[in-house]
Assembly symmetry: C2
Homo-oligomer: 333 residues x 2
């Protein structure tokens, strides 16, 4: 527990214990999330909790292997997100939530902080790993954002793995949709805040990157797209200021340009990324009525996870055998 | 010419003559654009130039009527943009450019600076006025961004006017596509910078709004979406800082989060909107290699049009019979 004094200070100041200071900036860091939302111990079984912690751990290990081998932040972010997309527990890739029409429509984005290159896809249905398609858009197209069938044609042309609709289907998500459709209490779909996945990384060369992947909201209609694939809203990275991946009620995150606003406060006001994230998530967004959170990483390796809900699946690794994960508000990373 | 001293100062300082200062903040202001790009007098016929000036004038009159009658900035922005969408000269609504597949796929966004509410649509094919659909998304849905067929289902459900594909087709745009498809010189579509339309307004109640509408790039593929419908990139408004609508090579505008970055510099650095826009468009964006421009309006009615190309269709009205338009770099508004 080398961050003990920072933690103590945070606790003494009444700041939630999710704030961390990364002391050794030359070491690579990978920070991930698997969604923020109402996560109370009462509603969680030990078995399910253990599964989530394992899923986060696996993603951390996959991503850190890239960083430890001298790979880029972009590749580490992608590896960690692929791991969570393949894991049916998370609302991304396999295990994505269903639209009102009973389909899976997924969104993803990735950004390279060193070059400010970015790639994103929205509304794809057959792409095994939407984050890899976002990578291909960034690295192998003149565009930033591709959507729908067109994005899938691009995937096919670039040899990105496709899967039939049944690959993405899980019984748990289907039941969620059934419950949603049976409930007439509210007209609007509410976000499945718990499940969107994201990662931010700093590699040995000091490059930052950010990525996010999601199935969006259960019961969503009309080709709704949230903040995840919107550069500046759900995903943003720019050296040396910060890398951000968000999760929450996407409409508010778009309107508040959350990811870029955090970096802008760092850039123009000289705030620490953690301070900037606190202002945006715990003040601005709360006033607007938007719930969710972000993971934030600075160019010096300082990281924090800030959320205005009572839980966020999250994890960090900043050295071999230094992976740790957390779920509830009162846990530390 | 009540802005004479500001103009002289701007010219003396070597600042391009498109900078203007709006002295009377209690009066409503409407500022519009019809795209920025390579606009040289040599390649323009007098007839075509006159048509564009008339089209801009019409849009200014339509929007100003709303403001003059005490209407909202959002309604004025929408009225001005509808006028340009209906005008086949501009690359928005009727007269939108064709995709590589020979279709018209349009994007639009609108944002209310007072409430930071926003609505946007991407990849719609049959909606007569995409800006009106964006308005409906903002005012009559729980979402911010709807895409593709889903957005059209929403349009149908909300009684938004639809038109068959041939309504949008113009011979000039079809020829542009044919030229593009015949040219094997380059693989990537280049933006039709000239034609995207946008408006920013300040109403009598001090509310700001911004909107943008476009057909995107001739020959675009893969469901490509540019910056216009991306809140923070091509469109952004927040009282009291500023309202911005952008036009240009959308990929760069997304990566640089242009519209919000301008407002962030106003908010966090205390810059005037015009200074902020100059930094972003003439410095940051030029370094990245992205060409285009923005129209920017501050909460005090100060307006400016900043572009790094040699022309931008633009116009402003800030009083009855005070409408004026410009095309080339050396013209003043």
């Amino acid at each position: 527990m080398r961050n003990l004094s920072a933690k103590l200070l945070a606790i003494l100041l009444g700041l939630a214990p999710q704030i961390q200071v990364q002391a050794d900036a030359s070491e690579p860091v990978l920070l991930i999330h698997g969604g923020a939302g109402t996560l109370s111990r009462d509603e969680m079984t030990l078995e399910r909790e253990t599964e989530f912690r394992r899923g986060l751990m696996r993603a951390l290990q996959k991503g850190y292997r890239v960083l430890d081998g001298g790979g880029t932040a972009v590749d580490a972010v992608s590896a960690a997100i692929v791991s969570m997309e393949d894991d049916p527990l998370f609302n991304a890739g396999r295990g994505a939530v269903f639209t009102g029409g009973g389909r899976n429509e997924m969104d993803a984005a990735i950004m390279d902080g060193e070059t400010r290159a970015a790639g994103a896809v929205a509304g794809v249905r057959l792409v095994k790993n939407p984050i890899l398609l976002a990578m291909a858009v960034m690295q192998d197209s003149p565009h930033v954002l591709l959507t729908g069938n067109g994005a899938e044609e691009f995937a096919l042309a670039r040899g990105i793995e496709l899967r039939p609709p049944e690959y993405f289907r899980t019984e748990a998500r289907w039941k969620q949709l059934m419950r949603r459709l049976e409930s007439t209490a509210e007209r609007a779909p509410t976000p499945d805040r718990v499940g969107t996945v994201g990662a931010v990384a700093l590699d040995r060369h000091g490059r930052l990157a950010a990525g996010t992947s999601t199935g969006g909201m259960t019961g969503k209609r009309w080709g709704r797209v949230g903040d995840s694939p919107i550069i500046g809203a759900g995903t943003y990275a720019a050296n040396p200021e910060c890398a951000v991946s968000a999760t929450g009620h996407g409409e508010y995150f778009i309107r508040a340009v959350v990811a870029y606003d955090i970096c802008a406060r760092v850039r123009y006001q000289g705030l620490e990324p953690e301070q900037a994230a606190r202002q945006v998530i715990l003040d601005d967004l709360v006033k607007m009525g938007g719930d969710g959170g972000v993971i934030v990483l600075g160019g010096d390796g300082e990281f924090s996870t800030i959320f205005n809900t009572n839980g966020m699946y999250r994890g960090v690794i900043d050295g071999p055998n230094r992976a740790r994960v957390a779920i509830y508000l009162d846990e530390t990373l």
